[in-house]
Each structure stands twice: as structure tokens, then as C-alpha cells.
Symmetry: C2
């Protein structure tokens, strides 16, 4: 096959893989936003069957031959084609190393384990879940061996979600986080200046919440002609193609902030997907470059913009108008303080902006112990509880509120948790640059002009899609590798002010 | 390959084809119910690419070998497998006979032609559309040659939509229709007892229309756990799987009947799909057996139930309650007469239950002339206008309201139109039997008990899916082949009463 034919065929197959991803994404979105209950069993089978077709393309002998030819040093490829080859080759190498039978067993195991976990959590019965968790960890250990250890065994798992990340790097990042945020949280706990949050109690009309969510998305520059907002039990964003990045949220009548910050969070993810360079459209590079970078955009918008003083100076009057009589005696400053209350708790998904990172740090340390240091599943609850006591000063009364709280491990997603805090660190480091490169940023946000920041992020992050690796993104934005000091600086300054420390 | 292996592989591939159909159906539904505009170009490409993958399965050499083995007289197949082989073989034979290049040209041509038709209709410019229509007809003539002429050339096209149907049969059916319905329409036109329709003018709250649509679907036995009701510009039903048959409708604030009867119509289609035998689930036999039989169910529910006197004796008070103050001085009888007004018009999709059949008859006669009798495209407008004058007593003032009104021909769908009237004929013949086998039917409908009829239709029609051919269905329900006399009897009785002829 001549070189141009090889490239043509490679582009054709990878485009088809992306097209499977897109159409399956529509089915996935549909199942979570209102597909009728009785259609789900056959729908799930159909989704599984078509996923298998796409997987088959990605690990075929033909793909192997194409990749070999296109990876040879003599090939003069465009920047896009070269990255595409790299990306696809990485998955190919990984997937070809897993015996299909082993992988099938693992899929069956995790499917069962997810159901077992759900019941165990409900019944506070860790021993019921433990044997499944042990097996899942065993399988992951075998996968690591088959894939090849990079640095430490846990590094191999980290690379699945944050390409290039290592335990050594995370030790450095979480080390500083621990040394600065644990004392900060303690100082806050002892502060006498607690924000008032009583005005957030009671009910808030759901239709008004919906209207305000749409309003804020518009303000952020979310393009409703390239997306839509729906409701689902667990909010998510799905980037189906560059012209279709959908958001879901959930309106709770007794909680104003859940939908509000959930919407801004998913809106941040969507801004990323909507602003990828059209040149990448339809290729496998048309997506966020890593879990961590994606999470940096949702968290930047949710916390650093959405929970910012200046933002509410501009938008609190609008918010108040949406809920007549509900927030009349509250000032923008009251609201800002109320939504930034810090309260060490046991549950990660209910955590505030600051202590959230400590929840993640604990999970990171435990995962590393499991894969690098021989921690056993039996020892997990005890280690979990001790770490909560040490970092947050509180101890779970039972495993449901402790080691059983998250679904991730039941699905085998080890190495995923760090992405959440990496997102916060990337975001803080980016905002540090943005504050210097956009000298009027504070003023603009206070005036409801969010587009200069959005345009800046588009230029620096969004447009690149997967063309740049996470480490390349943060290096090119800030001129240095990822540091946790920016996040610590940001959190210290913000919360020292709020709590008058 | 041993026989059991052959069968296993055949079932596997055809199940996968069905799964493609289902997932692509979700994407199709999504595009018509709110997918964002900017995502459509890439989405359409993705749908096209996956459709091509499924098509490839259906015409592969492997499929050819499987079909040959499974069609051999020695094979002992179950009833389901045998029908599945027949169905798949029919498509295989048809598709293998078309040179792929020829078919690709045709797809491009019809895609262009649809856009040209839309503009020509807007500008009343038949000459602009004529060359495209000529080419489309030429392609269809070549397809007929390649597929093989059955009886007459037009029969080959009819078989695409109504397996086993022929021009000879339609001549017989439409012949009687013409001889009885044209005089009936004339008598109605001269009647002095015209129903009052003035109360249908003005506005009707859309939310109330939506609520009443849902109420009526529930009454019909539509299962909302196996479907959903949404809005789209052109209402449709899509049977994604046996647990997911979705309906769309369109609410017009100045037209109460559009959404009302549209919903009942699509609801009839959906009842068919929701009640197919679960044994057929996931196979290519899980669907309506033909366009005509499908249309019989939508029209039976829309017209023979939804426009029935007894139905509104039960439901008019409910309807009136949904629109406070709007229908206060109207009786159920007024409403029944008002929604059954007969008014010869030029536009098929606006036609009443009776004259609708004359619109179809005209299209049937013209299509037959085009493919069997050498009518040229140039002569079309003149023939069209003459036929309207003759059958309906009115003549289009221009081609936009005449020969250019329907989209079907621009997409190459010749042979499709007859299905609409076949649906009416099947429905009337079935209802004739239902009236005898369910002696309390009238009473039940008057009491809002629609489930005995639904259950009867499930037993006679729905559950069979594609296991029975259309001719087998009508034969097994009524003990004889399709006749148009039942439809004529029904329409005469109904409208002689309403118009006191």
C-alpha cells in the first residue's frame, strides 16, 4: 500500500471509530435523560454490540499494520496525523496486550461488583463487597503487568486518566497540598467568623432555578445552538461532536446551590468541547486532552468564577429577581460568603471547594498503598477512617459514610480520583496567568463580561483538543510544570479573607 | 460449517443489523426532537457511516453463503428463523442486484432533488424540478430492470412498501373506491346539512392540548413506560425496540384538531409496535409487517375510533374540561359533526377522512401511468390538474398546490402513496370483523373501555410483527383477501348519517 493510501485508510478507520463514539454517545445521553424504562434492556445490548464493533476496529490486525507503517521515522505526517497516530497507537498497544477472555471476565466482574457495592453501601456491609474489590484489584494488577510497569505499578493506572502523570509527581503535589490545606482547614474550623447560610434553607422554585441556570450559561458564552440543557439524576456533560456539547443538571426544590453550581460546572466542561478547533472536528482528537484538564475547566468556572465575590456583585441582583421575596434582605456579600462556607464533612460529593482536595488526597494515598505498598482490602476501612481523622478531624460512624461511599472502585476506576484535584491545581495555575495577561479581568467579571476570559481559555486550552498533552498545555499556558502552590495560594487568600483569619 | 453454526452466525449478524437500526433510530429521533443545529452536519455523516456498516453486513458474501445454506429445502428451521431468512434474503437479493456505484449516484441525486423540489415548490416552478424528476424516474426504471419485473414494472416498486401488492390488485381496489366515493363526495358537496365548525376556530391553550393528548394516549392503552411523547415539526412514531415506541406530535395554538388527531394517529402506530410478541424482540421481525398494515392501525385509531360518535359521547366532557370556557355551548354531537366535515380541497395532508382516498387514488393512477404507460414528466401537471377536476371537482391554481405539493417523488418513493389508502381499507375490513367478534364494542367505546379493542387487535395483528405477510394478516383476520367495499360501506354509512343524505 503506498504511503498516501495508508494514511487515507488510517484516517477513514479512525473517523469511523469517532462516529461510533458519537452515535453511542447519543444513545447514552438518551438513556440518562428520559428513555423509557422498558426499552433499557435491549438498548443496553445494542449499545454493547456496537461498542464491540468499534473496539474491534481499534485492535484489528489491519490497524496494527497501519500504525506500524505510520509510526516509522520516515513518515512525514502533519501535526494532526502524528498526534492521531500516537493516540490510537497507545490504545492499540494497551488493548492488544489484554487477552480478550481476561477482559471479558473483568467486565462481568465489575458489572456484578457495581450491584454488590450498591447493596453493601445501603446495608453498611463492607465484608460483602470486600471479596469483589479484592478480585478487581487482582485483575488490575494483572493488567499492569501485561501493560508494563511505568515507574511504579500505580503509575500505569494513573496514565489511563492523566497521560504522563506519576505517583512521584503526585506525592510532590499532594505533599504541599497536605502541608498547607490541613492547617488552613483547621484555622477555619476555629474561626469565630462563620458565614451565615440560613438564607439558603427552604424551598426555591424549580422553574426559576431552570431559568436562572439558562441565563448563567448564556452569560458564560455557552452556545445553545451547539448544545442543550436537560435534567438527569447525576448531572453530566457529553461532547457528542464540536457542534453538540450537552449538559444535564438536577433541580432540587430544597437546595438552590446544587443545580446552580452543577450547571456552571458542566457548563465549564461544555465550553471546552464547544471551542475545540474545527480542524479537529470528526477526528479522535476532538475532545478534552485528559480528565484533569477537563476537570480544570469545570472547576475553574464553578469555583474560581462561580464562587467569586465579583461575579455575585454582578449577578446576585439577577438571582434575587428570579426568586421574588426569597432573598430580599440578603446582600451580594452575604450570598458570596454563604456559598463559600467551609465545613469538614465525611462525604466527598458534598464537600466545599477547600476540603474537597483533602478527600481526594486521602483516596490518592490509599490507592497508592493498595498498588505500590501492599495494603490489603481487609485493612481498608481502618486506614480510611484514620486518614479522615488525621486530615479532616472527623471519623466516619460507619463504612457507608466512609470507604463505601464512592462508586469508582466497584467499576475498577483506580487512578481516576486524583484528576479532580489535578483539575483544581491546573485551574489555579491558569487563573494566575489569566490575572496577569488580562489586567482588567476582575473589572470585566464584575461587569458581567465573561467572554474575555472565555476567549483567553479558548486560545490557551480549548482549541487544542487532544493535540497537546496535559503537561504541554500547562507548560505552554504558564511557562512551567504543574505546581500545587497556586491552588494553595488561591485558597489561602480567599478563605483568610472570608473567615478573617 | 455445521448447520447449527450456520444458524447461530445468521442470527448473530441479523441481530447486529437490528441493533444498528435501533441505535441509528435513537439518533434519528434525537435529530428531530431537539438536537442542536450546529451538531447536525457531523451527526448526519456519522449516521450515514454507521448505516453503511449495517448495509455492508446485509450484502456481504458471508450473508450470501448463510442465506443459501439456510434457504435449502433440507433445513429444518423454526417458524421465526424461516421468516427471518425470507425477509433478509429478499433484501439481500434486491441490494446485491444494484451496482454500488449506481446506488451511490442515486443517493446523491435524490439528496439534491429534495432541495430542488423544496425551492421549486416555494417558487411554483415545476420546470426547475422536472429534469431531476426525470432522472429519478430513469434510475427507478433501471432498478426495476435489475430487480426484475413482477407483473408490471410498477409492481416491482409497490412490492417495496406492500409486499405482494400489484397494480392489477390496486386497479380492482381503487376502481371500486372511485365508483363509490366520487359520487358520495359529490352528494355531500350538494347537501344542505353542513356541520358547524366555527367553534374549532380561535386559540386553544397548548399546555391543555398536551395534557389532553397524554390523557387520550393513556386511554388507548399506550404504555408510557415503553415510549414517550415529544414535539417535532412533522409528527412521527419510531419503534426503537419493543419496549420503546416513541411518538411525536405538534401543538398549534390555532388548531385543536391537528395535535389531537395527530397524536391518536401516531398512538395507533405505537400500539402496534408496543404489542409485538416479545419472542420477536431484538430480531428483524420486531416491527410492522408493511406500510399498509402499519397505516391501518394509525388510521383505525385516528378515524374509526377517534372520529367516532360514541368516542366523543364519552370523551367530549373531558375535552371541554381541558379548555374552560372554550366549548361550553357545544354538545358532543356538535363536536362529532364538526370534526367530520368533508371539504374537497387541493392539499392531501389537509384532507378529510373521505376525500383523502381520492387524493391517493390520483397519485396511484399517475404513478402507474409513469411506470407502466409511458407518461412523461412534462405531461404531469396537466394530467394532475385534470384528475383533480374530475375526482374532486376543483383545479389547482398553480403547481405548488398541485403536482409539487408532496415530497415523496423528490426522494424517489414511488409506490409508497397507495399504502395510505390500503391502510384505510385494511382498517375498515378489520373493524367489520371486530364489530361482529366484539358484540359490545360500541357500548365499551361509549364507556371509555378501549382495551377490549386493543387486546383484539393485539391478538389479530400486533403480536405477529413481521411473522405474517400483509395478505396473510388480512386473510387470517377476516377470512378473505383485501376488499375496498368495507371502506366504502363504512364511509357511506357514516357520512350519509352526518350529512343526512
Amino acid at each position: 500500500m503506498p504511503a498516501t493510501e495508508t494514511l487515507k485508510r488510517f484516517r477513514e478507520i479512525t473517523r469511523l471509530m469517532k462516529q461510533y463514539e458519537e452515535i453511542l454517545g447519543v444513545a447514552y445521553w438518551d438513556m440518562r435523560t428520559g428513555a423509557p424504562r422498558k426499552g433499557i434492556p435491549l438498548r443496553s445490548e445494542a449499545v454493547g454490540a456496537l461498542s464491540a464493533e468499534s473496539f474491534r476496529l481499534s485492535v484489528s490486525d489491519e490497524m496494527g499494520e497501519l500504525l506500524e507503517k505510520l509510526s516509522s521515522p520516515g513518515e512525514a505526517l502533519s501535526r494532526i496525523d502524528r498526534r492521531l497516530v500516537e493516540e490510537v497507537k497507545k490504545d492499540y498497544d494497551r488493548n492488544r496486550k489484554l487477552p480478550p477472555e481476561l477482559y471479558r471476565e473483568y467486565v462481568v466482574l465489575t458489572t456484578q461488583a457495581e450491584a454488590v457495592w450498591e447493596e453493601a453501601k445501603e446495608n453498611n456491609d463492607f465484608p460483602a463487597f470486600a471479596p469483589y474489590l479484592e478480585k478487581i484489584i487482582d485483575y488490575n494488577r494483572r493488567f499492569i503487568e501485561l501493560w508494563g510497569v511505568k515507574g511504579t505499578p500505580y503509575d500505569t493506572l494513573l496514565d489511563l486518566y492523566e497521560p504522563g502523570m506519576s505517583a512521584a509527581e503526585l506525592d510532590r503535589l499532594f505533599g504541599e497540598l497536605r502541608s498547607r490545606l490541613v492547617p488552613l482547614a483547621e484555622a477555619i474550623a476555629q474561626s469565630g467568623n462563620k458565614p451565615d447560610t440560613s438564607f439558603l434553607e427552604g424551598t426555591f422554585d424549580k422553574e426559576a432555578q431552570k431559568a436562572f441556570s439558562k441565563f448563567i450559561l448564556n452569560e458564560m458564552g455557552y452556545d445553545f445552538e451547539a448544545g442543550r440543557l436537560d435534567e438527569s439524576v447525576h448531572p453530566f456533560m457529553t461532547g457528542l461532536n464540536l457542534g453538540d456539547a450537552r449538559i444535564t443538571t438536577r433541580y432540587l426544590s430544597n437546595d438552590l446551590t446544587f443545580a446552580l453550581f452543577g450547571t456552571i460546572h458542566e457548563g465549564g466542561h461544555a465550553l471546552y468541547e464547544q471551542n475545540i478547533d474545527p480542524e479537529l472536528g470528526g477526528t479522535l482528537l476532538a475532545g478534552g486532552t485528559s480528565m484533569g484538564i477537563h476537570e480544570s475547566q469545570s472547576r475553574l468556572w464553578e469555583n474560581m468564577i462561580g464562587r467569586r465575590r465579583g461575579f455575585w456583585q454582578r449577578y446576585f441582583p439577577e438571582l434575587s429577581k428570579h426568586f421574588p421575596g426569597r432573598l430580599d434582605n440578603i446582600t451580594a456579600e452575604d450570598f458570596y460568603r454563604g456559598i463559600n462556607v467551609v465545613q469538614p464533612g465525611l462525604i466527598r460529593i458534598e464537600a466545599d471547594e477547600l476540603t474537597y482536595n483533602l478527600h481526594i488526597m486521602i483516596r490518592y494515598e490509599i490507592e497508592k498503598m493498595l498498588f505500590n505498598e501492599g495494603l490489603t482490602v481487609r485493612e481498608l476501612p481502618e486506614v480510611w477512617n484514620a486518614k479522615y481523622k488525621e486530615a479532616l478531624g472527623i471519623e466516619p460512624p460507619n463504612d457507608s459514610a466512609g470507604v463505601l461511599q464512592d462508586t469508582h472502585w466497584s467499576g475498577g476506576a483506580f487512578g481516576y480520583f486524583p484528576s479532580y484535584s489535578l483539575g483544581n491545581m491546573y485551574a489555579a495555575q491558569m487563573m494566575d496567568v489569566a490575572n496577569r495577561e488580562l489586567p482588567k479581568l476582575e473589572e470585566q467579571i464584575g461587569a458581567g463580561q465573561l467572554h474575555p476570559l472565555k476567549d483567553w481559555l479558548k486560545e490557551k486550552v480549548y482549541r487544542h483538543g487532544k493535540l497537546l498533552q496535559p503537561a504541554e498545555i500547562i507548560q505552554s499556558v504558564s511557562g512551567r510544570p504543574l505546581q500545587s502552590s497556586y491552588l494553595c495560594d488561591y485558597l489561602e487568600a480567599k478563605y483568610q479573607d472570608i473567615y478573617r483569619l
